[in-house]
Amino acid sequence: MLEIKNVSVIFNKDTINERRALDNVSLVLNDGDFVSVIGSNGAGKSTLLNAIAGNVTVDSGKIYNNGYDMTYEKEHKRSKYIGRLFQDPLKGTAPSMTIEENLGLAYSRGKKMRMGFGVRKSDRPFFKKECEKLGLGLEHRLKAPVGLLSGGQRQALTLLMATIETPELLLLDEHTAALDPKTSKQIMEITDKIVKENNITTLMITHNIKNALRYGNKTLVMSNGKIIKILEGESRKNMSIQDILDLYSQNADSLSDSAILG
């Protein structure tokens, strides 16, 4: 269970550029929740994920994972139990290393460094089987450098790497946004399958409202550093894209109101 309590993140504090990217945000994710996050540009979605992953330090508030206070834990320590994917398919893999070496690195995540080869003979059948699940034929190219793969293939591999050692949390930041519509759909399907099969607690940022409502069991709507709405169950099912767009613009109005009122 992930608990976020009154978390605020302020960039450029005490300057004229001060920006409250997260404003007193509280949120509870139950185990196995697959939550999509939507909101207009600059709403604070990425900052929320960065605060959880630890590459942004929070200014106030607490973050607990299964009751453990991880608010100030170092990024590389958290990544033992957090898997991450970004928009840029180049970010998640080491291009000059082979597919199996990349998987070998991912597979060792969170375990103690051991002596011996990074890719053991006994790992190969397992890696092969995992690649087969993606349905992209990567299982035949285990010894090819990752730099030769297409963006979609790299993103699928990154997803596999993030989940090959089942993480307690999976954070996806617009991970299909840089792909063409067909590949994007393919990666979404794979994501859904992996998350469901392993029951991984997941936060997924997307600008695709249709996907946000279709995949997962909850949807957060963010605006101005706040979570303005949590959709689940019946109310989420009955939401239309237009309803969401209305939510966005209502908030844009209240924003300009407050701007006028100071």
């Binding site: 590389h76 180049l90 291009p95 990349n102 690195l105 995540r109 460094m113 002596m115």
Partner: protein, 299 residues
């Protein structure tokens, strides 16, 4: 070029191949040129010479590697913990090392090691064919083989793979629970340990130690790597290491030939710098020419 000159060139090539194999870790694996090597080469040379003067050349070899590795660790700490640019960190270490190296050499700018026990004594005058003593070459080849195999195997281990990934995509490694700072410090350590070994062997081979000999070692090491990569384009770590070894020998033979043609020894650094510049420039000519051709064809 007579036979002895060529053989001498190959032997020196083998010694500087070791330097380049070490530099490969910083320059190609971590993607960070490490200027420490100009200092750590002499640190290895100085430590091993000091021990040789005490009659312990093999102990000197071990401490040379350790000393060199420590200089690299220091640069790594400056780079990662003080957020210094890798080049500045290397320059600072190298500059400081100049004095330390001098102290190790008992404040003498040069030492003569002739007539003292030497690590090459084992095979000296044992393998003589047609009047040439191959003992030195055999031992140098053995050392290079060991280093190439050790580096290859190391880079395939889990730690080695984390090191490679750190140079390849640091952000990814950080988000996969590996401490990248530690990886970089280790990489610099290994690089300079091997460079110091090459300095130690250089001293044993020439039987002299000069404190100023380190200047331009980074560029020399780069020249070896770039010549090797340009001549023998290959893929994969093992092939890459072999390329560097061969590149070092070819480069040294080119230098030897240039000396024969009358290149003054004082111009050796200028020559190395020119080779690195050319080796980087030549591959960029073709695309430029193509662009120029297309542009003019249009007009």
């Amino acid at each position: 070029m007579n036979f002895t000159t060529v053989m001498g060139g190959i032997e020196l090539g083998c010694i500087f191949a070791i330097l380049s194999l070490g530099l490969y870790i910083a320059f190609r694996i971590l993607n960070l040129p490490d200027l420490t090597v100009d200092g750590s080469f002499v640190t290895g040379l100085a430590i091993s010479s000091a021990f040789t003067l005490l009659g312990q050349p093999f102990l000197g070899l071990i401490f040379a590697i350790i000393g060199g590795a420590l200089t690299g660790v220091f640069t790594g700490l400056l780079h990662t913990k003080l957020n210094m640019h890798a080049i500045l960190a290397g320059i600072l270490t190298m500059t400081g090392l100049y004095s330390i190296n001098l102290h190790i050499m008992e404040d003498k700018p040069s030492l003569y090691l002739g007539g003292l026990p030497n690590i090459f004594d084992g095979l000296r005058n044992k393998v003589i064919i047609n009047g040439y003593d191959y003992g030195m070459l055999i031992q140098l080849l053995i050392i290079n083989t060991i280093i190439i195999l050790a580096l290859y195997l190391f880079l395939k281990t889990q730690i080695g793979m984390s090191l490679r990934a750190t140079g390849d995509n640091e952000e990814m490694v950080r988000s996969s629970s590996v401490n990248t700072d530690l990886m970089k410090i280790m990489g610099f350590g290994i690089c300079n340990g091997i460079v110091a070994l090459s300095g130690c062997i250089y001293g044993q081979y020439t039987q002299t130690a000069t404190v100023g000999v380190g200047t331009g070692m980074l560029v020399l090491g780069l020249a070896n790597i770039i010549v090797g990569e340009t001549l023998f384009k290959t893929r994969g770590i093992f092939n890459h290491l072999i390329c560097i070894f061969l590149g070092a020998i070819v480069y040294r033979l080119i230098l030897t030939y240039a000396f024969q043609l009358g290149l003054p020894t004082s111009d050796i650094k200028l020559f190395s710098a020119a080779v690195v510049i050319l080796a980087i420039f030549i591959p960029s000519i073709k695309p430029r020419y193509e662009k120029w051709r297309k542009k003019n064809a249009r007009d």
